[in-house]
Symmetry: C2
């Protein structure tokens, strides 16, 4: 099943970088995005633009209506998105129950049908927000489960969960994306963008992105718009 | 998170038995069913009836639109459902890519939100159809992954994937269900039922069910209807 990949594409900086990394390896890319009622639905438009710009063979948008989708500050408008709160040790209220498990399960189903063995996810365990489903031990456990629970896996066409950004700092990601020629203005990271899709500048995702650009010595065009 | 369970309820004999087993343990039950375009959509009506009859606190039907859903004889009307073909060693064409991974992922999300630590699935590895995602090693790997990838798991409120029928023969399941008072007429097992929901009598699921009742020395009321 080499030669072909599923890329989980949120419309953010990290997943766009994953798409470019998969393309750099010469892989044919199918991009997969989810509408799960997130406040920042603008990211779905961005995902579409990124998939088109960087040569994804196909882009699918799956509407996810799962129990628990509403139990997060990312989806429940009555729960405030934390501001200027980066680095607190608890799992934040922006955690969405079992989100990456569901995302990866859909990618696995598509990968099995399309003959794509590599599944790319932009998870990051260094400059990240404390989500349990972004940790290496979770991704390894998912890969193991995937190969035990599918026809392809049992028949020896192994799936690989690829998280190339897992141990990179946000600054390293920004630098790598710049090398690969990513048009940063296409990407959006903010959890709670304004009416014209402008980033709030204060949520975890904005703070991490800003830190990454600053440490990389680059200017974020999305902040200038 | 004791005291409460999510039960994957297909409307078949096995998952109905799981619901009764969970209730026998004194667990509060939330039942979860999926519409994934299966030919045998009658099972969703049966699931609703079973959940209502046996005191599920809630029954949810999730519409699953996943890539790969169509790649099975259970969902693609151009692929014939095998008849009188029980016991061939290959994974059958009724296999649906990553189906149980997706089902369990939804149950996990609901379980996390509802505080239900036990997830019941009617998987069976003895008298079964050769699906890789019904094997104990898959279910164990899913449980491990679930506890690494969720807030509840990380915080020590462990999830358990419960497959009480895993090592039972179909005859043993039928006997146990009879002891628990299951109204077999409510359940449906056939992959390709007729217009009045009558079982075909020849698909794997019908053959397994018939064998189970015969070996248990019981009569299947669903076959008499």
């Amino acid at each position: 099943m080499s030669g072909s990949a599923i890329v989980l594409l949120s419309g953010g900086l990290d997943s766009a970088t994953c798409l470019l990394l998969a393309r750099e390896e010469g892989l044919e890319v199918r991009a997969l995005s989810f509408d799960y009622g997130q406040r920042h639905a603008i990211e779905l438009e961005r995902a579409r633009a990124i998939a088109a710009r960087y040569g994804a063979r196909e882009h699918r948008l799956v509407r996810l209506d799962f129990p628990g989708a509403g139990a997060s500050a990312l989806t429940d408008p009555t729960l405030p998105v934390p501001r200027n709160d980066l680095g607190s040790s608890a799992i934040p209220v922006t955690y969405v129950p079992a989100r990456n498990t569901l995302f990866l399960a859909h990618a696995l189903a598509w990968g099995e049908v399309a003959g794509a063995g590599d599944i790319f996810i932009g998870a990051n365990a260094l400059d990240y927000s404390g989500y349990p489903d972004c940790r290496p031990e979770f991704l390894e456990a998912f890969e193991r489960m995937a190969n035990l629970g599918t026809k392809a896996g049992v028949e020896g066409r192994a799936f690989r969960i690829r998280a190339p950004l897992l141990r990179m700092t946000k600054a390293q990601i920004v630098k790598r994306a710049a090398e690969l020629g990513l048009d940063f203005a296409l990407t959006t990271s903010c959890y709670e963008p304004g009416p014209a899709a402008e980033p709030c500048g204060a949520c975890d995702a904005c703070l991490l992105r800003e830190k990454g650009f600053r440490e990389a010595g680059l200017v974020d065009p999305a902040r200038q718009a």
